[in-house]
Amino acid sequence: MTALEAGMLSQTLLLVVAIAAALATPLSWRSRVSGTFCTLLAAAGIVTGAIALAGGTGSLSIPTALPMDPLALSPDRLGGLVMVVVSVVGVLASLFGIGSARVASASRTAWLSMAVFLFGMQLVPAATDVVSFLLFWEIMTLGSTALLLAHHATRGTVASALVWYSAMSQLSFFFVLAGFAMLAGLAGGTGFADLATIDPFTWQASVAFLLLLLGFGGKAELVPLHVWVPRVLPEAPGHVAAAMSGAMVNIGVYGALLVVVRLLPDGPAWWGVLIMALGGVSALYGILQASVASNLKVLLAYSTTENMGLVFLGLGASVLLRADNATAAADAALVAALLLMLSHAAFKSTLFLGAGAVARAAGEMNLDRLGGLGSRMPWTAAAFGAAAMGAAALPVTSGFVAEWMLLQALIHGSRVDGEVVSVAASVAMPLAVAVIALTAGLALLTFVKAYGIAFLARPRSQEAKQAREVPVIMRIPLAIGALLVIGLGVLPGPLAVAIGGAVGPEFTPDVRTIGLAGIDARGIDAVLDPITFVVLAGLLLVPVLIVLFLSARRHPTRTSPLPWAGGGSRLRPRMQYTATSYAEPLVRVFDDVLRPSRDVEVTHAGESRYLVERVHVEQSVSDVVETRLYRPVLNLMQRAGILARRAQNGSIHRYLSYSFVALLVVLIVVSL
């Protein structure tokens, strides 16, 4: 038995143990015991993935009663990489869960399904054939669906979230199933090795590609299949949301990678354009919705759509450039997409864990009622801040490195040796840069808002005022997450090299480390060593600090009980800007896209038309995709459902006529 096989077996065993632990332990101990086993399960995933990433081999076959091609688990390097990523998030989420899961979210079901969820996610990248891929994919879906049950008894919105989530998951699953089944039909076998022999330039391959893209895009929360995200993630406990938004989306990305890297690596250029369009629209739409969201979890959820959109943008650029023979840029774009995925996993799970900590401490996810948590929960604030910087792609975070790499690939991609590679590329690349830039700008606003409103200023509610820092066991994953965000941002070199190795042999990016651990993308002539910026900034800080200390010694800071506020009246906390008001200018700018509904109600004082007693303003931004695309379909279905009842109206004569007509039709057909 090889190490890889042992790793996968140990995951299976740990799943069984974790399930047993979840079922057997009493409530008072459950979170600690089950959380530990879930952590171990995820840790086993890290080890297994690392072995695979390092080139370990081994295969585990799953017995099946149906006579089909053998189901085998054997992660390649790319699979290993993804396995490591989801497992790291799994470890963070499980650790956090040990501390945070109480009452409902510590139920048997919750911990049991957490283990199932992690297990499914960790083994999807190990699948080497269609059926086992779908098997673990659905195990993952089942686990995550059951996790949503946690607060069903206290929150009325869980039910609709569950329905949306299951339906959309199943939609994704059916897309993937149909796509893979088509490919398997073409290839004459269900093994990925068989599928890789297909010629991508047939219409069947293109249809299958479209189906797979939609399926995986749905899991990666891309527009227009993202509608479940803002409903579901707010209902999930923090650690579950972290696992879903930080890890599960990566499985969607992995699926897309599997298609464009492993199975159909040399697809037509329009595939790339399509992926880029899907990604670009998702990125813009996601960040726009995130920027106007007031619920912290909804904000983070939409931001996931944005980040995944960027990942797909990179992926699409890679496909397009490869089709145009701009290989070096294509490789770099792929590396960038993977870097983005990794960095997103790090910062988004930290952000969701931070949101979970806030929810626990303040019992509130509405930014309009938070505030001043920075001084009350310094650890959480620091970790959340670091992760928010990552999400806003500011320097010395992983997010920055990834976006830098993507932009470099894009601007170097449209030309090879000074020649324009293709019209498609020369239009798509600038547009992509514009999309990324706009996205980055809005992301900046979004996360300034998220951090600034929640952690700075004065508390806007009593709950926020009474918030206390979370226990140590919850701070540990937060700290690890934040360190990952910063660490990957400062020392990204080895990771980029590992990614470069993982996408081979189809893609062969020439990425090396430079300096301490910087990135040197030879193919596109781009160099970044973030550590030097840290050093430089440190050097520049020295004189400033010297002046500061000199000044501070002579002129110490005074503290006033209230802000000056332009010399106005005594400001109460609720006079502060809220998240809603913070986003107001932006809502006005993007009025046509967001289509907010405003309701202004003026109560006049007495008879006067000019004296106003109070003004009530209500503004809500709904998801345009949902209201314009899904609602009509759902309404139509509801109406069809009511109409269909007439077919089954209880009259036996009608039923007999059905049979009679069927009999006549059959008689006529057989005599034709």
């Binding site: 009663a65 089909m68 659905e138 008894a153 199943q170 398997a184 039909g185 009999l663």
Partner: protein, 531 residues
Amino acid sequence: MSFALWTPLAIPAVLALLSLVVPSPALRRLSPVASSVAVLVSGLLLVSAVLADQVPTLAGGLLRADALSAYMLTVVGAVGLVSTWGGLGHAGNVPARFAGSYDALISVFLAAMSLAVIADNIGLMWAAVEATTIATAFLVGHHRTPRSLEAAWKYVILGSVGVAIALLGIVLIYAASRGTGEATLSWLVLSQAGLPLDPALIRAGGALAVLGFATKAGLAPMHSWLPDAHSQAPAPVSGLMSGVLLAVALYAILRIQTITDAVIGPDFLRIMLSVGGLLSLFVAAALLIRQRDFKRMLAYSSIEHMGMMAIGAAIGAAALPAVLLYVLGHGLTKATLFVISGRILEVEGTPKIDDVRALLVRRPGLAVLWLIAMAALIGFPPFSIFFSEVGIIVAGYATGMGVVVGIALVLLLVIFASLTRLTVAMTIGAPVAQTSASVAAPAAVLPSAAAPGIDVTGAMTGVVPAAGVGASVTPVDAEPRPEAPIVPDRSGHGPMLPLILALGTTAVVAFIAEPVGTLLTRAAEVLGGIQ
């Protein structure tokens, strides 16, 4: 091993007679379970014989157990065991006067289904299928309410008319077999390739027989009896009907398909079964969207699954093992669900989804299993329906039936979403404060329902509105107790072991390559599947 061919017929028959004659409640109640065990054990014995490359025959070849028959017999036994054992609590509420006949009829029903799958003669099989109609007619009408009477009437009329059409088809096949010199109805003879059968007659006969058996299999547009009968029959009977009766009819279709395919090629029945399958999916989808009754919901889900199996049959050889595995998985899951639905109906006193809320909080004992079984039903792994569906769809694309399978997937999605919505509506959420009459009514019925041997079954289905009105004036409601803490009811309201066993079996069966895989392969080979 041939004795195992008569045990599934004789033991239930004897038990049926005993339960009618001997006035012992214990024997009476346990007799269906014993019958199921007899069928199951016989099935397993036959399976072991088949795996040892034997083909037991009896009565001059009239009864014959090849791999397919042995497998189907096992499924009948297993699903029967789950339904009858799980339904033990339910049977306790049967009016004493009819109790004997109820249990006897279940035994007869099991024997008839056993006969249908082990008969090596189309005519005998037809008679056995018709016998199931006769046996279940009174079972459907068992509650003796106007509604159950209505369901029974529709069931008998539609069912026997359908089966009569099948008979017409069989007659034509018999006529066609005169070309072989000796007219015969033996499966074994007729499925041989290269027989000089009249293609026109075989075509018409096959089509009519399939159409007829499609009635019993619940395929649209012949499905109309199914929701009514399933929703009105006592839960164990519904479980048996949905779990195996439909499958037995499908078995007949598969056998006939083998005969016709050998003569006129697969295309004709492929189109017919595809149309039937898609129509079934469509009907199920359309009527599940706004379904209001949870037993009818299960019934339409049966139509859906039969539709998928029909599509699998249409795809042919490549999908047959998946279809056969589907039969087992669906049978066990659906029997479990019907048994639980019977218990929910019993304790909640209403079949309306709108009136059954927050089960997971109020009655976790029932809701947890219900949710797991629903997950199995809508095709989540590790339950075997997942593998069957994937197998059918992959085989469909490989056979060039991508369009059919694609449409099926769209309809399956609608069905999935509807089933999820309805299940969630029943189980998830916080219970309404105990001030509304709808919640109080079942509470008022509950004590008497729990007491064994008292006739409340009729009252439950027929007089629920009255009970609701009555409850609304009881002191419970007069006293506003909005903050009364809800004590979760963790009781399973009946034997839990059979349900757990059934779900456990469906969860693991797909992963057992030996002997299940071999058996499925052999059974598919019987139908001209994998060579």
